[in-house]
Symmetry: C2
């Protein structure tokens, strides 16, 4: 395995300042530090000292005044205030709610913030590695990750924070294309920090008044964008698209056979669901969990572009009915996981209407195109769906996790899932109980996933999201045109090429993109563009890098 | 409705410094600011100016130099550096990944951090209100929460952050007893901030190497504590106890009838599950979702202390078998939601063994007692369970959300839930694929819930968690003894008393505790002690406050 150092400093400088060409961490630290006033310079230095700090962990060097000697580690003055608090004498029990814990708490949290700020700046720097890859066993040995009976000092805790980020994947890096969720939005991040600070639960208005209102406002807005009249309907933010899809299936079943809630599947005829062969695996997972069974999910043929073929859907529905089965659910996909294909929603809506079947649109990936006046036509017909999954944590780059299920019929979620626990959803509360949303879902406690989306929306406006999405599609078109006629691409008949290139990518850490086979096609790279930090140059870099790493194959 | 101001300043001072007796926000700000060196003083001032800031939003006052005039608002010098950056001229598009966005990004994030630090210090201050309560319609009008096409300035975004915290429930407040999850741990908070910053997904080692390893290490440790040999077994962190319980039921069903995954419930006989009448509603919710039906969840009688009666369990199992049903799942509760009762696990384990039924322990609330040498006997027998739900976000006060499902049999989760999506779980990756945990659960993407627990565990050690839990139980005993013989308590025969007192609590904002009826008992207060910030004095306060607010009833 290639054993590169942490820093991958080349000609390109983090500061974009051509006058310096740093080639050591310390030089970079100084250069960066000079750019900022106040304590910010020192923030940039913090992360650079992970190596030193790790050594210090075994044998902390203490100065006469009780402060640790490590400090910032820079040769030049950069206003580091780290030495003023001696974290190696402090423990978690010295922090709030400890008596007089205010100042220590603020200093500790500020130190963690400094570590994070340095990581953030570094993540956007193309001259750093996307990943400092190590195999599991190797990573286990590189640090002490064990849990023990005795507490560690806050200094040790800070070291763990640095080490965790050192080996993290820089998902914000402009050359990270590996998943549908990429990038790191600064307003979204701030909102997620604030969410953690508020540390509450979405189940009742009582404990999350603002967040419950913001969820209400945002879901309504999303329904308006879908095209449901006056934004009427229902919805909830759930822990990911797979769960949102499962909720939709649960609702469809309940709508057709409400007795299933009490009596179970033995009270209903054999139900069958339909989705394209390119759809996400969560449809089958949901069917397995709900007691429907994966064999009752009928996979509809897709065309060569990955779109569901409506005539095949109708044929299979009729066939199922002839067998005495009850078709209850069609999941169309708006943006398939591998090809990014959009099923023809209008034609599917016609078929669902004709056969009286619940139409769900899994827009986990492609739903965000609704924000773009230029591209939303790809989802024409979504307004006729009964439900839709839409994950703002994908193409809208909201921090993980943020997935919405939108439902056209009001009240159905509540009646499908409610158990009316009297300890939580007391009916004699002083406020309007429709704001207690906890009984609409299977979760009891529910993480606050709304604030980051809401705050980003305020910060960008709808037009800001639109611009971001349009740019992703523009980059995607650029990539397509670039490789269309390029020699070597689409010429791969050996399924081992992509995995080898990918493994090399991770070891060099220069970029990350996913691969897989599909149907009769051998392993190919699945290029995802959702990263707001990516530019045309990053696309060029990726193409060159794949060629470079695969040269000998 | 009582319309108190934001600050509830009394004789008690945030600083615990008796020399000052501030009675206005500004005086408090100055007093607090004097305590801290550097920029920290100013941090305390930030939140105090929400009112002013909100006004500024409509008509921002700009100084000649382009900086906003609001600044800190203090009369005294307190090192405020806020005026140096003019956020009212900046937009989200000025932040990273924008060119030269580093400094602006750091300044913006630092400003958000300052707002949060002030909120944190305030949250632990007994002289502030737990909640600044407003009815939904009123809260909707108090601020502009709408989403629009156009972007807002970063100044507006900061105002939204302040407003959101102003109306938030202070779940860290020492007098917040309203839910099973209370308190705010500083190391846990730091870890959650870092988790947001790393912004990745738990499904593969590839994108979350450190977090996947930490989950592995922590789950193993938890299994050792349960008492499973050498910590063998399996597990996952899921989005809450309700989902963990549902996962357990799913596994139990699959273990007995693996064909259910493909063929659905129509391929199996009628299954029945058993749980106590005091168990959490998620057992029924899970049964409804999985197609088992709520009628197939048989509620076993509990004794007057709320514990499941084993002889009734056995009787109902035999009865079910006689009807031709198949008992497949018993969910015992370790710490019921309302009484905090522990079912007799040893006796239940005997019955499950005799009848060959999967034994699950819902220890969402009480599982944490396993960390206490003094109290863990209450869970004797848990080592014989097939699975256990354990929510560190409850009595261990880990930030929301953090729920573990632990499973004794290795490999079962994978075979029950896997769909082997070839775009994610490629079998030709370069590393050990057992670290790709995503196919063990129903979720596809999975939020990183592990780091906060792991970092807190490192910071406290097992003995630190033990001390925290022992203290909660000590406070609980103190409360019990105090009200045991007190006049007026347990004398309430009118179910309207508790809701009225609770409504008054929220309007005054002095404390928060939940209430409900149970069986033939009318509304009573359910006192939860999981808040590490609570002391004996807070218990005294609560008792007095309930009396004061209910005096005229």
């Amino acid at each position: 395995m290639a054993s590169h150092g942490f820093w991958f400093l080349g000609a390109e400088n983090a500061s974009g300042n051509g006058s310096q060409s740093p080639n050591t961490p310390r030089a970079w630290c100084q250069a960066a530090a000079q750019k900022f006033s106040g304590g910010i310079g020192s923030k940039l230095c913090a992360l650079l000292n992970v190596g030193e700090a790790e050594k210090t962990a075994q044998a902390p060097v203490k100065a006469e005044d009780g402060s640790t000697a490590e400090s910032c580690g820079c040769n030049k003055p950069c206003n580091c205030s780290k030495a003023t608090v001696c974290f190696s004498d402090l423990y978690a029990t010295d922090l709030l709610p400890a008596l007089n814990g205010d100042a220590k708490t603020m200093n500790f949290l500020q130190e963690v913030v400094d570590i994070m700020l340095a990581y953030i700046v570094e993540s956007f720097d193309r001259s750093t590695k996307v990943i400092d890859f190590h195999y599991p066993n190797e990573l286990l040995q590189r640090n002490n990750w064990e849990l023990s009976d005795e507490p560690e000092t806050l200094d040790d805790i800070l070291i763990s924070c640095r080490a965790t980020l050192k080996y993290a994947i820089k998902t914000a890096h402009p050359r990270y294309f590996n998943q549908l969720s990429t990038g790191l939005d600064m307003v979204g991040l701030a909102a997620d920090w604030l969410t953690s600070t508020a540390n509450t639960n979405m189940f009742t208005y009582e404990v999350a008044p603002v967040f419950v209102l913001l969820e209400y406002v945002t879901l309504k807005k999303m329904r308006e964008i879908i095209g449901w009249q006056d934004g009427h309907g229902d919805g909830i933010f759930s822990p990911g698209g797979a769960i949102s899809n499962m909720y939709a299936m649960l609702l469809a079943r309940y709508k057709m056979f409400p007795e299933v809630k009490e009596k179970g599947m033995s009270s209903v005829p054999r139900l069958v669901a339909f989705t394209s062969e390119h759809s996400h695996f969560s449809i089958k997972k949901g069917a397995a969990a709900l007691g429907i069974g994966t064999e009752s999910v009928i996979c509809i043929k897709a065309d060569e572009r990955g779109k569901m073929i409506p005539s095949d859907l109708e044929r299979r529905i009729v066939e199922a009915k002839q067998k005495g089965y009850v078709p209850f659910f069609v999941s169309a996909t708006a943006g398939t996981t591998v090809y990014g294909a959009f099923d023809p929603l209008m034609a599917i809506a016609d078929i669902c209407k004709k056969h009286d079947i619940w139409m769900h649109v899994d827009g986990a990936w492609g739903g965000s195109l609704l924000m773009s006046r230029k591209h939303r036509w790809k989802l024409n017909g979504v307004e006729r769906a009964n439900s839709m999954t839409w994950n703002p944590h994908k193409m809208m780059a909201v921090p993980l996790q943020c997935s919405a299920l939108l439902v056209r019929e009001e009240g159905l979620m509540q009646s499908c899932n409610q158990m009316q626990a009297c300890y939580l959803f007391q009916q004699d509360k002083q406020y309007d109980l429709s704001y207690d949303t906890g009984d609409k879902a299977l979760q009891c406690g529910r993480h606050v996933d709304i604030f980051k989306l809401w705050l980003m929306w305020r910060a960008k406006g709808t037009i800001g999201f639109e611009a971001q999405i349009d740019k992703c599609l523009e980059l995607s078109e650029y990539l397509y045109n670039k490789i269309k006629d390029r020699e070597g691409y689409e010429m791969v008949f050996d399924g081992k090429v992509a995995p080898v290139i990918k493994a090399r990518m991770m070891e060099y850490g220069t970029t990350m993109v996913s691969y897989q086979p599909q149907g009769d096609k051998v392993n190919f790279f699945r290029m995802v563009i959702s990263n707001p930090a990516a530019t045309f140059e990053d696309i060029d870099f990726l193409i060159e890098e794949i060629e470079r790493l695969g040269q000998d194959l």
